[in-house]
Symmetry: C2
Subunit: 172 residues, 2 copies
């Protein structure tokens, strides 16, 4: 299965200033990009904090798998086509592959992104770099040491100040 | 005085993996860019840890002001035209202005970058984004919360995988 990590971050690598951050510092153009690519991929994989922050309308028209140790707390789901998954990332991928899923967007948060990268399961990244510096916040790639090498595939300006970087993860 | 912050960071905002990091993950092209721009500006401002990491040849042909609470420990200087400064950043800028200095490169580390940004003293940033993810390390903008807005001035590919982002700091 091909897994594409998609996040918007500040220049210094934060996906949220704090737990209450509503991402209002991201552009409309980035939201359109996110919606278009995730619909095209058809499946989104996320952690429970990311799920809790997403408005219901941002979850429609694609399948979502939400990692959680407490599915009962998240039910009922905010939208159709959402499954809560209690288990390891390998178990989740086996499950998705059995469903015939070939492509998925990994959309955070940092902890789950870190686990997927650590396990060598991420193929590409789309990182929107917002024109902001926070110095403190929630890291988009978690907190466990990684040493990933990337290949820059292309770049695109989403707005006058916001740039989208598209990378392939190099596997050694 | 115009102050331009120049750093190379991983995609996730780290300027060093750890204290021993020798920046070998940065490109030759970035080093050439750094050398050219800092020589052109004529003055470099840095903290003592950054100074300690810099080879003597990287300090030649421009004036350097090194912040330190213990100048005696750093003497003798590694190269000519280096001054050790014990004092606040405002005192240092007064001192540089009295010397007739109009432009300076602020080259780290994170702590001093944070202080200059917090004080509204940085005009522009040149951030080289290396194609790496570390998840853990030393942040290029320090650890005290900031909320800076930037304007993207231009971008340049330094190598196939390394991109240089040039921003203006918006002052409110």
């Amino acid at each position: 299965m091909k897994i594409i990590l998609i996040i918007i971050q500040s220049l210094d690598g934060f996906i949220n200033k704090d737990q209450k951050d509503d991402l209002s510092w991201g552009s409309h153009e980035d939201k359109v990009f996110f919606r278009t690519l995730t619909k095209q991929l058809g499946t989104m994989i996320m952690g429970s904090n990311t799920y809790k922050k997403m408005p219901a309308f941002a979850l429609g028209k694609r399948f979502s798998l939400v990692f959680t140790s407490q599915p009962e707390i998240l039910r009922p789901a905010k939208a159709e086509n959402i499954e809560f998954f209690k288990g390891t990332i390998k178990q989740a991928l086996n499950y998705l592959e059995k469903k015939g899923i070939k492509n998925a967007a990994l959309i955070g948060g940092g902890k789950i992104n870190n686990q997927f990268l650590q396990a060598g399961l991420v193929d590409e990244l789309y990182i929107t770099v917002a024109p902001r510096i926070f110095a403190k916040g929630i890291n988009g790639f978690g907190e466990n040491k990684l040493d990933m090498k990337l290949k820059l595939l292309d770049t695109r300006q989403l707005t006058q100040d916001e740039i989208l970087l598209h990378y392939q993860v190099l596997k050694e």
